[in-house]
Amino acid sequence: MASEKLDNWLDRHSARLFLLPTVLLILSFSLFPLVISAWLSLSRFKLVAGGYDISYIGWLNYKKLFTGSQQFHFLGTFAPISLVGWLIIALTAAILFWGIYTFLISRNITVIGVIGRLIAFPVLGWLGWLVASTTGEGGRLGSLSTTLYYVFAGVTLQFLMGTLLAWLCAQNIRGRAFFRLVFFVPLMVTPVGIAYMFRMLADMSVGPFSPIWKLFGLGEFSWAADPWSARMVVIIGDSWQWIPFIFIVMLAAFESQSRDEIEAAELDGASGWQIFKDITWPSVVPVAATVVLIRIIEAFKIVDLPNVLTNGGPGIATESLTLHSFIEWRALNLGGSSSVAYLLLVVSTIICVSYFQLVVLPMRRARE
């Protein structure tokens, strides 16, 4: 009888029991650390005889990053805004105005929506200004701008290449299974391994492409000593790994659309470009928006590649926020480390949520 009672009890509470392990794990290893981290970022960590001492110091860690001695590291060194800078500012402004415009005409204005936009839009504008004003001549990118470059340049490149490859593979070609398998492989290589691989490949004097560099008289050039070329190598390595992810998802999207519509359009004499623009693209746009969201979320966490590939150098030129935070931790500056990590959380959350609200949701609604 006892076991029957137990069975009944289990069955009545099965819903909660199913959910319990997940909720407990996330609470203890995700939410609880989040709270501790917030508290750490407001305090100073000191090693004292026989242990350590943590004392509350308010916003000092954040102040240091924004206006104090660590400003050059987090925000960067400011310089007059160059042409590229103005382009970035124009792009940011265009996105923000478009966001405000679509919100105002959406007839779906809620209190939370207004508050969210009042928080997110100034931050987005400020980030655009920050990247613009550290990019110019004489300026240096801090870890925040560097991370934003990794995210936007990297994800754009990966999305374009991944989608192009997926579209090519979705055509009526031979050996599709072969290409699919080969293109998928980089996703499985550990980022640490990729970092070393690209260091080998990018070696200007003994790497496989060194004959080509020598031909162009670049044999003595060291990409690791120049900030922009070092960043580019990081982005190339990251793209080599993640293009397959976009590829595989977009390929599934291209393959899942019906052939009838396309064949009918072909019969009507539509060109390949017209078919792509009017039939194929609209049907895969929601998937594209989602896969870019996933990539943006993951791209903010980049650390292994710059750490192993360039060690954050030259100077701090390739340091991402996670790497910045890790370096502070290694120097036993726990407060500084958590404040950098927290700012990363804030920036990535605002950008991901804004992207979701401005791009993913409208596209899903448009399809329905």
């Binding site: 289990l10 069955d11 099965s14 819903a15 959910l19 392990p21 997940t22 794990l25 996330i26 203890s28 290893f29 995700s30 609880f32 650390p33 989040l34 709270v35 501790i36 981290s37 508290w39 593979c169 055509q171 009526n172 070609i173 080969v182 293109f183 492989v185 996703l187 499985m188 290589v189 550990t190 640490v192 391994g193 070393y196 080998m200 490949l201 003994v206 496989p208 080599w240 397959p244 595989i248 599934a252 064949e263 072909e266 019969l267 929601p286 998937v287 989602t290 979320i297 966490k301 292994d304 926020l321 996670t322 935070s325 890790f326 931790w329 726990l334 958590s338 927290y342 959380l345 990535s348």
Partner: protein, 341 residues
């Protein structure tokens, strides 16, 4: 007749064909060449590397097994221990992430939840009070946790009649998935301190627990989409026949979701196998995983490409083999959810 006009309906024009195939082969080269370079470097002597690029084994240089010997025989257990650690940690954490994650995903897809908002707020308050007591007044954390939970249950009973908005399945699902945005570095520090207090730093158990949590959001997300796409009829009729929900889950829903399980677990396995940052925080020697060993090759003597290449190869081979084996399932199953948008 032009190069870019197709001769037959449904067939590509010859010009287009040339462009498409050359692009595809170009990218195949971009993917394969770095891997090829790693493989041939692993058979090179140091002198072959420093003398400049040698492309073809047996023609440009005489391959040698010295690096393989060094990694497998001279280093011996220093290679195998991290390797075994990685195998243990990746496989166990994948299994548990899959079990817990699909249970949660199934519950969210099929059963109804209506937690009261006020209970959640109370729970967080009780937890916060417990943490505050433990940190500021030095109360033993076990005692503080027990008291916090007791206070929570008491308050929930006491405020049972107070009206409160309820959350739905969608809210819980969103909450779980949104955990993926959390950068691991934010959680890594406190987890490090927490495990240090519990004296389980540098153990398999600590890393496994962390990996399970990190991967749960992905599992819940992908498996949720699979369970939603399975028709309900069979489960409903089994429920009418008196089968318990737990039996329905294990004996009917899970087998039906097999392609999803295979694809998702492969993804999670790859993620845990390659994970670097958290392992860096949580292990020092005993529980060191293979990505750390690879990263540590950047020794003071300068990078030793031949040893690194061997390590990279032995890291990639198992996952690649597994993927080839599961390829059919993956193309069917992977990211079905993302495809549906």
């Amino acid at each position: 007749m032009s190069w870019f006009e197709s001769q037959k309906l449904g067939e590509m024009a010859p010009g287009t064909k040339v462009i498409i195939y050359s692009l595809l082969w170009f990218w195949a080269f971009v993917v394969v060449f770095p891997l090829y370079w790693v493989v041939i470097t692993s058979f090179k002597l140091p002198v072959h590397v420093s003398d400049g690029p040698d492309f073809l084994p047996f023609i440009d240089y005489q391959p040698s097994l010295h690096a393989w010997k060094y990694i497998f025989i001279d280093l011996g257990s220093d290679t195998f221990r991290p390797y075994l650690n990685s195998v243990i940690i990746a496989s166990i954490s994948t299994v548990f992430a899959m079990i817990f994650g699909s249970m949660a995903a199934y519950a969210l897809a099929r059963l109804h939840f209506q937690p009261r908002l006020i209970s959640i707020v109370l729970f967080l308050i009780a937890l916060g009070l417990a943490a505050y007591a433990a940190i500021s007044f030095g109360v033993d954390w076990r005692l503080a946790l027990a008291l916090g939970i007791a206070v929570f249950f008491f308050l929930v009973r006491a405020l049972q009649r107070v009206p409160s908005p309820r959350l739905g399945n969608g809210d819980i699902l969103f909450w779980v998935i949104s955990q993926r945005i959390l950068p691991p570095i934010v959680a890594a520090l406190p987890i490090y301190i927490m495990f240090q207090q519990l004296h389980i730093l540098d153990t398999h158990f600590a890393i496994i627990l962390t990996y399970i949590t990190v991967n749960l959001p992905i599992v819940v997300w992908l498996m949720y989409d699979f369970f939603v796409s399975i028709p309900r009829d069979i489960e409903e009729s089994a429920g009418l026949d008196g089968a318990s929900k737990i039996r329905i889950f294990f004996e009917m829903a899970l087998p039906l979701a097999k392609p999803g399980l295979a694809a998702t677990s492969l993804l999670v396995l790859i993620l845990s196998w390659n994970e670097y940052l958290l392992a860096l925080f949580l292990s020092t020697a005993k529980a060191q995983t293979i990505p750390l060993l690879v990263a540590a090759q950047n020794a003071t003597r300068g990078p030793q490409w031949w040893y690194m290449s061997v390590l990279i190869i032995i890291m990639i081979v198992p996952v690649v083999l597994l993927t080839i084996l599961l390829q059919r399932l993956i193309s069917k199953g992977l990211l079905l959810g993302a495809v549906k948008g």
